[in-house]
Amino acid sequence: MAVNQQIPLLMELGSPGRRAYYLPKLDIPSKPVDEIIPKNLIREEPASLPELSELEAVRHYTGLSRRNHGVDVGFYPLGSCTMKYNPKINEDLASLPGLAEIHPYQPEETVQGALQLMYELEQDLCEIAGLDRATLSPAAGAHGELTGLMLIKAYHEAGGEGHRDEIIVPDAAHGTNPASAAMCGYKIVEVPSDERGGVSVEHLRQVVGPNTAGLMLTNPNTLGLFDENILTITELVHDAGGLNYYDGANANAILGKCRAGDMGFDVVHFNLHKTFSTPHGGGGPGSGPIAVRDILVPFLPTPTVEKDSEDCFVLQHNRSKSIGKVKGFYGNFLVLVRAYGYMRTMGPKGLKRASEDAVLSANYIMERLKDVYNLPYDRVCMHEFVLSAVMQKKHGVTAQDIAKRLLDYNIHAPTVYFPMIVEEALMIEPTETETKAELDAFIEVMRNIAAEVLESPEKLQQAPYHTVIGRLDETQAARRPIVRWQAAETEE
């Protein structure tokens, strides 16, 4: 089947009675079902699941996979998402039966390898963060944020400062920051950016105070800029009695170069599915461990992994001041396995070199595009940078149009319209795993598109042309939501 041919939905395939899988015959004496399950609880009709052959199912999903872009398919400079290469050996590790087929309620003496891995990973993350302990429980970055804020809240309450109900968030912050703060019952105080793209220290001075619970910050921030005033900022918050939360979404810029703890942060989350190379799976599962300063350690969620006197690893479930559990069991273990494999492979020198190359690659692209696209903050960037399509917009071409045109070249678009403080934003993050040739090809395509804007803007407004489907109407999708297949619609 050609890639650009539409693929029927799973529900439109198959025939009644067809099967792909048979169980072994029931090898114990059985009873009529209604003797073991009360009649009123038995399903009257089986769920109308597909009825396919194995080949039919395999072809269906293989067909779908061919209609999808991934890091293994082509360049993926999606800003703030760190779409680096996902090493294959780590997939192999995660499928070892000794790691993949263990149950969370097995006796601890039968999972010592798993606990050792978690213990060592925690140590590595603490070293990278420059902090004291970590929890591996959070399932994603936003989940780490929520957990970290709960710790901050517990800390203030324990210190008799429970009235502190404000979280300060810069206007350039990821949307998850204010959303997480709200889920933790906090009021959000927004602080603007200054003309250099950093937090406005002047404004921060005005908003910190006796009600400040904490500040959430990404550094480098979402403009890809390292905040030069970072030490002043974190000190201001500390002086007011608040704590500092580091959103580690952009940690790929600073591995082995500097540490959040040294910057004055008290709690940090890492996105293992960004910085530590675990695949993003089309939207997860990820993992968002958080590392904390000693003052927050008593409040960490349960369980923690500890090493006892006989060098055995144990899960510590009873911690009197803990905020409790934030996730079922112990976190996304197989994601931890992959990140552990990555760290063991890279070592301290490799991690540092990864950040250096990521930063070099971003600066290289930025330098070679800033004459044809507006660069709102013209200074050395870190692992990513933000261009603005304001010049192109004068010709009727938006950041969205440019993004769609890139798809025609087997390149995933940058993050668009974010951060919100930049008009027509295009946020570009190449990562360290691309070759120079790939970076050069991207630069050339971006320059060609800039030229195309001047020659035939209307062409861009209709892009993409070479994808499996044309530009999709998102407005229609939201106005009249069709969010599942329904039999009636196809029976014509």
């Binding site: 597909p50 991934g70 999606l78 039966p97 149950h103 309620y105 996730k327 070592g347 499996v468 969010v483």
Partner: protein
């Protein structure tokens, strides 16, 4: 020296530095205050080659007892089922694995269509109107449902029962404490939700009543009665269900659930020491705009071709920021994809058969165990594929005796409950993956424990 996964050569680095107009890479880090710039390498083990890493990984794996080669009777939220080989082969295609959230729909039709199909499958299983693209897991899914109910009804209290999974209860408590919402845990009587005790709480103060079906003890809750009771109530009825059980059990829509959540791991996902897996959520149409998480919707391109996009994004954090329905961003798309492929391969008859075999094998095993002198079933109610038995000795001793014979589990309930009364009790799970021989081996060991 070189490092794997880095693609620049030294020569290219020099060329690029010169194109950027700096003399060394350090000049790119000038914005970092010098007092915090690290002078030394991080203190971590030096990098390993691929073969060294593999050997190290295998060493760690060998220090675990894999349930791939040892029969297990553990359940309690994570279940071992037979997984058709095709499932991991297609789900692990790297175009799916190495993609981000499908922000650019035109080159992400594979993931988007797969999620749209997943949403449909979850609706078909649960009988509900709409499903989201997944949540982290069953426990956080239940907590999200609670927050959603609070936002929808403006009630200030969430009610559940002691028969809920203790981890789910713990996560729920953590989430609700953060927003100062009261959590009331009502008693279980003979292992089942005590409906009488619920009556005083049926008023507008209660945002949701949450029940697990089958419950933590494997028992089937009186969901019909609960549904009847909640029909006229302002509180939302939230059911946390095991998706495999829906091969044989009534769909939650039939007993009046408003929100259905659950742990997706039993659908084709490995045990994985408890994660990653996925949480599913399905609701009635009228709650769609209150739902957390991604939702994929159908639309068309300019030529009228059917296509799929992320939709109703104004609910979400990247648009609505602190007014979003949830902070969730990355969810568990790939685990959910595995779940969808599993359902596609198992199919209509396959899922019914899996559920039926689970129930048959569990009931057979329960009957056999309770026939051993000194052993008895703790609860009298009907169950699906898990049951609690009382041993003549401490359950930890039983666990040890089984382990000596290479058998893992059941779960001594003293591991999750402090109360002394649980000391001799064990929660057993028997799925279709257990053979008659393995069950017989279990019985043999149990007959001999003293």
């Amino acid at each position: 020296m070189g490092h794997p996964y880095l693609s620049l050569t030294d020569e290219e680095r020099l060329q690029m530095l010169s194109d950027v107009g700096v003399g060394s890479v350090d000049e790119l880090f000038v914005d970092i205050p010098s007092e915090i710039l690290l002078k030394n390498d991080l203190e971590m083990p030096e990098g390993l080659s691929e073969s060294e890493l593999w050997a190290h990984g295998r060493m760690l794996a060998e220090r675990n007892m894999s349930l791939d080669s040892n029969p297990s009777f553990l359940g309690a939220g994570v279940y071992q089922h037979l997984i058709p080989s095709a499932v991991k082969h297609v789900a692990n295609r790297s175009e799916f694995v190495t993609a981000y959230t499908p922000y650019q729909a035109e080159i992400s039709q594979g993931v988007l269509q797969a999620i749209f199909e997943y949403q449909t499958l979850i609706c078909q299983l649960t009988g509900m109107d709409v499903a989201n693209a997944s949540l982290y897991d069953g426990a956080t899914g239940l907590a999200e449902a609670a927050l959603m109910a609070v936002a929808t009804t403006r009630g200030k209290r969430v009610v559940t029962f002691e028969s809920l999974h203790p981890d789910y209860l713990a996560v729920l408590a953590t989430y609700l404490r953060a927003v100062d919402t009261e959590l009331v845990v009502l008693p279980a009587k003979d292992g089942l939700a005590d409906i009488e005790s619920l009556k005083p709480f049926l008023n507008e103060e209660t945002a949701a009543v949450m029940v697990q079906q089958p419950n933590f003890f494997g028992l089937l809750e009186p969901v019909d009665a609960l549904g009847d009771l909640l029909k006229e109530s302002p509180s939302l009825f939230v059911a946390s269900v095991n998706p495999i059980s829906l091969g044989i059990l009534q769909a939650p829509s039939a007993y009046g659930a408003d929100i259905v959540v659950g742990e997706g791991q039993p659908l084709g996902n490995p045990l994985a020491f408890g994660g990653p897996s996925f949480g599913f959520m399905a609701v009635l149409d009228k709650y769609i705009r209150r739902m957390p998480g991604r939702i994929v919707g159908q639309t068309a391109d300019k030529n009228g071709n059917r296509g799929f996009v992320l939709t109703l994004q104004t609910r979400e954090q990247h648009i609505r920021r602190h007014r979003a329905t949830s902070n969730i961003c990355t969810n568990a798309a790939h685990s959910a994809l595995i779940g969808a492929v599993y359902l596609a391969v198992l199919g209509k008859q396959g899922l019914t058969e899996v559920a039926t075999q689970c129930a048959q094998k569990a009931h057979y095993t329960a009957e056999q165990i309770s026939a051993i002198p000194g052993w008895e079933l703790v609860f009298s109610g009907s169950f699906f594929h898990e049951f609690v038995v009382k041993a003549p000795i401490c359950a930890i001793e039983v666990e040890r005796a089984l382990l000596k014979e290479g058998i893992v589990g059941g779960l001594p309930l003293s591991k999750v409950y402090d109360d002394k009364k649980w000391e001799n009790t064990m929660l057993f799970c028997v799925t279709e993956a257990r053979t008659a021989r393995e069950i017989e081996h279990l019985l043999q060991v149990l007959r001999e424990v003293k």
